[in-house]
Symmetry: C2
Subunit: 189 residues, 2 copies
DNA sequence: ATATTTTAACTAATGATATTAGTTTTGAGA
DNA sequence: TCTCAAAACTAATATCATTAGTTAAAATAT
């Protein structure tokens, strides 16, 4: 059913992921991926519709990886412990895979429904972690947005070397997470 | 002292800023800027060393604009009121100038010392806003990092349409800012 | 086993892009 | 008015993405 086999969508994705991981997001080009697969650039169009689709694939996969890491880290913890583990896993992912994280940021073109859906799933998951804070639906959503923004902010500022001072980034993040979580606890008794 | 005048570094920067504002950060190219200035692309190299330098100019200028907006918004307020105004100005800038904000994120190559210095100045300014919370030096720095990350996180997630739910973003941000600020207040009495 | 058909590779070509080299022009100052 | 440096130009190279059209191989049908 496929002559000259050996290259399937999975192989294309894998090649792109490897390039993103080793050389950064910008290094993902039709040429570089084709070269890594041992074919000429135009031949890659037999497997993917163009650079945009390729980027979208990478972004979706990177987001799934990030989600998996987060869910695994939270395990069946709840409350503060779960949130702190969540943050740890998030920051760790960005440190380990800066290129992939960059792709998640870059890709969200208007077309990428999958990205949006993955994001929604993550929100639901985090809302679940906040169960025992007895928040209203609205409070819970505000909080999830805040946690996500805080952690994303730390991750992306760290990635772009935004923290010059000799103060541990993890400590700073935990300090602020605790401020928020303690505030929630106080709010609900 | 300059034949065929009319184009100086300021004009180049202005052209690039206009393009970033109207068409987005990616639209800043040697070609587009040259075209807007009415010259051929290679001629632009008489005024700027290349695309990287051009991007760096835009990023530095955008960061200064953002700083000015923030400082103006904070005025001579202090404490919570200052921080809320700060956040407002930050988010407002990103909404008004998404292309410029994008350039701030993009540019920080390792060479850009100016970007780093501008960031440091901003940190000092915000530390000043927190005077009456009576924090230790370290607590203040953790807090500034947190506020910056939270606001940057909100701004950049909003820009990339990361918030799907029909819940006001400004409300979410204020909710979380207040959690943090109330937590600080409690911590110090 | 052979013929057909599908499809993945190819080459060639087009049109952006950035950038360098080398040349011409022009305007400011001697 | 002449000189010269600066700023424009043209020409060329290299790297992108992408499209069109061709060839070849492998799976399938006869």
């Amino acid at each position: 059913m496929s002559p000259r086999a050996g290259i399937d969508p999975g192989a294309v994705l894998r090649a792109a992921l490897e390039i993103a991981d080793s050389e950064g997001a910008e290094a993902i080009t039709i040429s570089s991926v084709a070269q890594r697969l041992g074919i000429r650039p135009p031949s890659l169009y037999n497997h993917v519709s163009g650079l945009n689709e390729l980027r979208s694939w990478v972004a979706v996969h990177a987001l799934r990886q990030l989600q998996d890491a987060i869910v695994a880290a939270a395990g069946n913890k709840k409350g503060e412990a779960a949130i702190l583990s969540f943050a740890d896993a998030y920051i760790g992912f960005v440190r380990e895979h800066p290129g992939l994280y960059e792709m998640i940021q870059l890709a969200p073109g208007p077309e990428d429904r999958e990205i949006g859906e993955a994001g929604d799933r993550l929100v639901d998951f985090v809302v679940g972690l906040l169960d025992d804070y007895n928040l209203t639906k609205e409070e819970a959503l505000h909080t999830v947005r805040g946690l996500r923004s805080l952690i994303h902010g730390f991750a992306s500022l760290e990635r772009q070397k935004g923290f010059g001072l000799p103060l541990d980034v993890q400590d700073s993040l935990n300090f602020n997470l605790k401020l928020i979580l303690d505030g929630l606890r106080r709010r609900t008794g």
